[in-house]
Amino acid sequence: MDLSAQLPLLLGLAWLAPLVSFVAILFFGPKMGPHGRNAAWVATAAIVTSLVLSLLAAGNWLAAHPVEVSHHAAGDHGGPHTVGPVAYAGDWYTLYRGGDLRLSIGWYIDALTVLMFVVVTFIATCIHVYASGYMHDELHDVTDHEVHLSGGGHLHRPGRFPRFFQALSLFCFSMLGIVIAGNLAMVFIFWELVGICSWFLIGFYYERKSASTAANKAFIVNRVGDFGMLIGLMALWGALGTLQFADSTVPGADGAATVRPGLFSLVRPATNGHAIQVPDGMVKFAAAAELAKTPAGDVAGKIDTWRSMGFGRWLLFIAGLGIFCGCVGKSAQFPLFVWLPDAMEGPTPVSALVHSATMVAAGVYLVGRFYPVLTPDVLLVIAYVGAITLFIAATIALVANDIKRVLAYSTVSQLGYMMLALGVGGWSAGLFHLVTHAFFKSLLFLCSGSVIHACHTNDMRKMGGLARVMPWTAGTMLVGCLAIIGAGIPFVAGLSGYYSKDAILAQALSFSRANPAHSILFLAVAGGAFLTAFYMFRLWFMTFAGEPRDHHVAEHAHESPTVMVAPLVALTVLAVAAGWTLPGGFSLPNLLEQARPAGTAEGMAGGFAFGSLVFPAEHESHEGAVHVTATLTAFSTALAGVLLAALMYLWRIVSPAVVATIFKPAYAFLAGRWYFDELYHALFVVPVLGVAQLASGTDRGVIDRIIDGLAWAARQLAGIDAWIDRTIVDGLVNATARATWSAGLELKKLQTGHLRQYVMFIVVGTVALFVLASLLFRTTMAG
């Protein structure tokens, strides 16, 4: 069984296993043990199955495609990449086929897919285990102290243990669906499913107003992004007629199998050396006017002219931008990042899995997957959006006091990092950071979860000195912080973050060297690194170091149960080691290199909207100058951040309060989260409400009046009609009925019930009939 048949099978099963557990829990959840205790086992079993299958798939993949020792260090200009990545694509089932449009459930499997499968299933496994401990409150009736009933009491409700794992399973299914998807339509479907799951999970405590509003907010904000995504889909489908990533063989009109090029080979045709070019479909679409003028014969010849005239560029631009809009929504990029911090209303495992490690990474993943179609202009937009996001989020994180909110903003800013990396051409850098970030961010969230579990509060100002009561949590969280700030000994070794973040910095640096106009991107990255270091260690110090600020909290604090600590340790290991290069040359970047889209190995140049751009090839960023600078920058900024945090929160040399008072307006601005919510409220919510007021006024005042008038008229008419009906129609009917009745009364005398009389009647009738017949039609009787 060769790989092309094996991988879809393994990964497909890994994809469907959570669906099975979802259905099982959906129908039999409450029957699974007391309060559905065993639902946790079902879900965990399913996800472990997926993990095992994914690992098998990964093993097979590596056996078939060993990663070559990192070639770009050797600097050969990507020989293998001109032929494009190693990928297997195909369809399981075709939902709809009309003309040349096809919607199908298919797979597109390359190194990235396999890697994402392993990552997602691994983290999900840890979190399932963790959650089965964390959610134990839901096993019996819960009194929710955050819900104040009108009676003044608190809400008392039965536990929802199975429901939680049901949503979790559905989420895993959807996430893996996005990862394995073979075409954009399928991506979109599971994209929305993921959104739904996030809605379920954020609103898990839906009795809390904050939770339900947060859920709705997340959903609606995502809608905004998805609207852009829909536009992108329409642009692609309308102009190219396919949403498949890879080339697909379909039965043509004459039944013979014909190869239909997918998006990738349409935008980066091999004929063009996999360099990006506007596909013919878009050119024709845009040049409709000329097309009408041109005789059908020499259209083919003219297309290149039109292309050179720039027809369809904007279409491609819009397509890319649209898809990116979806990513903006899902990955909480500026300006749609406002939902993510609120999403922390959900249970902490959810925050760890959905809102830091996987779902929000889906946007980044999609950008990475969709990379070949993105024009330089789009990339630039992405880069800037990423930069803005990471800066804003980092600054807000500086002053947040809710431990989970700090992590949420850090997530946003890290996602900004990834976007920026992708935007400046650091394809593998961005995705590499996505993977490592998934590990340490989920680790951090789980740690915070266990802290919250211990203190029953999110407010860091009530914590402090927890290190001695919960050493495991403290230690693992420290590792997480070090990883996220990219700590390491320069040029020697470091935690996972060290490698990924350095790659990003290096890429950003080489980009800004190539285009000095955009060197602010590098500054954003560097500043981001500093801020990250600061707020992460601010968090750690405030939580674990020093003296307990709130003894009431401190004395209740305790180390979490093993079932919660074990995942921490597991994740810690990966947070440390995910970036390392194993002897034999295996490392995640090298693995990712296998999936690098065709033609992105060398530098790209182009762009028409924002002037000409140069995208330096990624391996150039490994050349000495760039590399050293980037590493040193990262190290120094991180160190500075840590030191500052230590000054303010560990040694208390500088008092935060004083700083806050000195920079009061800035502090307020940050504490107010740049007033984005207020801004949006003023910009969108208020106008919408106003319009709604107006509409309802019109409705009541005008339309209802008219309708009432009509109703009144109809009623009068009905009255007349009723009169006619009663008097005339009913009269007729009754008359008929009466006539029938009396006739029946007469006729019934004929039915004596005497069999013999009936026989008589029959005979007489027959005789009469035949005599008549013989008299009238003698011929028939004469035969």
Binding site: M760, V764, T766, F770, A782, G783
Partner: protein, 227 residues
């Protein structure tokens, strides 16, 4: 063989025909005039038997045998059952008013006249038969019943109108099954009597009454047997 026999002695055939015909008709009339149910049954048997003889003469041996087997062997035994189960002094013979008889006679006479007129209305029917030999009756019927026709087409049959009888055969068999089930259901022993039945029973005769107590058909027989 039969064929050749009949060819050899057409007069003999004619004689037999008149014999059987007169028997059949005579006993049929007997059925009409008899009062006693059991005698009616006897006459009916004989009439049907004679008709079977007519069938044999007409070369339809299979139908004849079938007539004997089913009608006489089956139907009439059922009838006699009925007679015995319901037979008792007042019911074995129920007289009909003379007026009814006369009326029936008149109507029947008109019907008979009509039928006779029809019987002779076609000249081709009045021609004496040729008595040609036919293939044995059983096999063609059997094959026709399983849907295949092996008999020679009668002269003047337009081609392609000769169909097998598989479907009717199936229908009839299903029909028979249903009928038997239905009959068994209708005739099953009733535990509980309707009130009307009881008062009728009380009104009719003491033996009826005691039969009610005994219940079941066996004692009905005794009532039937003893006069």
């Amino acid at each position: 063989m039969t064929g050749s026999l009949l060819v050899a002695a057409m007069n003999f055939h004619t004689l037999l025909f008149y014999l059987f015909a007169s028997l059949a008709c005579g006993f049929a009339v007997g059925v009409v005039v008899a009062d006693n149910v059991v005698r009616m049954a006897l006459y009916l048997v004989l009439s049907l038997g004679a008709t079977a003889g007519l069938f044999f003469l007409a070369g339809a041996e299979f139908i004849g045998a079938m007539q004997l087997m089913i009608y006489v062997g089956g139907t009439l035994v059922l009838l006699v059952f009925g007679v015995m189960l319901t037979a008792q002094a007042p019911f074995v013979s129920i007289k009909t008013s003379a007026s009814d008889r006369v009326l029936a006679g008149v109507v029947a006479a008109s019907l008979l006249a009509l039928l006779l007129q029809a019987a002779f209305s076609v000249e081709a029917w009045r021609r004496p038969g040729l008595g040609e030999v036919a293939p044995p009756a059983a096999t063609p019927i059997g094959t026709a019943l399983v849907g295949v026709r092996v008999d020679d087409p009668p002269p003047g049959t337009p081609p392609g109108v000769r169909s097998g009888y598989l479907l009717p055969f199936e229908i009839v068999s299903v029909h028979l099954l249903v009928v038997l089930v239905g009959a068994a259901y209708l005739a099953r022993a009733k535990r509980r009597r309707t009130p009307r039945a009881i008062e009728v029973a009380a009104s009719v005769a003491p033996p009826v009454d005691e039969r009610r107590r005994a219940g079941g058909s066996a004692s009905a027989l005794t009532a039937g047997g003893v006069r």
